[in-house]
Symmetry: C2
Subunit: 154 residues, 2 copies
Amino acid sequence: MTPDPKAGSILLLEDFLPYRLLRAAEEVSRRFARHYKDRHGMTRPEWRTLATIGQFERITAKEVGQHSSMHKTKVSRAVRALEKRRWLKRETDEADRRIEHLELTTPGRRAYVELVSIAELFERDMKSRLGGDAWRALDLGLGAIEKIIQPPRR
Amino acid sequence: MTPDPKAGSILLLEDFLPYRLLRAAEEVSRRFARHYKDRHGMTRPEWRTLATIGQFERITAKEVGQHSSMHKTKVSRAVRALEKRRWLKRETDEADRRIEHLELTTPGRRAYVELVSIAELFERDMKSRLGGDAWRALDLGLGAIEKIIQPPRR
DNA sequence: GTTTATTGGTTTCATTCGTAACCATCCTGT
DNA sequence: ACAGGATGGTTACGAATGAAACCAATAAAC
């Protein structure tokens, strides 16, 4: 398994940025996921939904999807799952009865607060492992990508 | 949909690094995927497998998985798909008949060369959009993550 | 004021995925 | 030489995914 120096090849997968980016992102996510999966058996869509509803007092499913970059079917399923746990409640909008406003219940907010602290701990740990320079570099690089990729979602 | 400044929340999903990283990576990958999907209807596992076999003259399925960070079932399926296209051939190892050596056929290598140039074009374009500073920052940041995440695969 | 288009959200369905079980082959120890 | 593991690779199966169809409800067109 030695790289082939022969002419024409010349793509080192391990240096190809889209590959590196996805690999790094998936591994980091996988590690972070262990925490909330272990803790409550939550999936990533559920975690993102919880995080988003927690961040905004009251929000619709559509807005959750926009804010957390999730397909509406993922949101729909995650909302149902969280509802089954009694971590959130829906309220149909009076003026437009298609819309449902989502809010966390008291246990839901408790879970949210707990998960926030786990997230912060994880991020701090990651930062300390990476070192300040790399952390800032990553922040800058991701910022540049975010500027490029469309609908600036905030 | 205004952020809730109330006490206790304090997690901005859009600033949470694991989230940002995955979102950026998925979007970049999605865009790159359009190219090889349009061109040959290839999936990501197939593209990675092709890229890996092209990079090494002759390689086993297991090594493909290691090099491209793919689960062995993904590799197995991708290899079969590429084989059906007649882009690769398998050769059972004489000494150890569990092992199969994989090589590209002539059309396979042709497709590989084409995809490499697409990849390089994509990367160049991405670099020019991001700008040199951000590009280098990203490279540095990803390098740091790679150093942290396990089996240093090279 | 009725048709027509749009929108928020759910459901269906085909595809993709990973875990685990599996098969065949090889290696180890005795 | 034979039992018990490992190992390369495939298969089976349940869970997750997203595109598209769908359902209500609202808004626009006329």
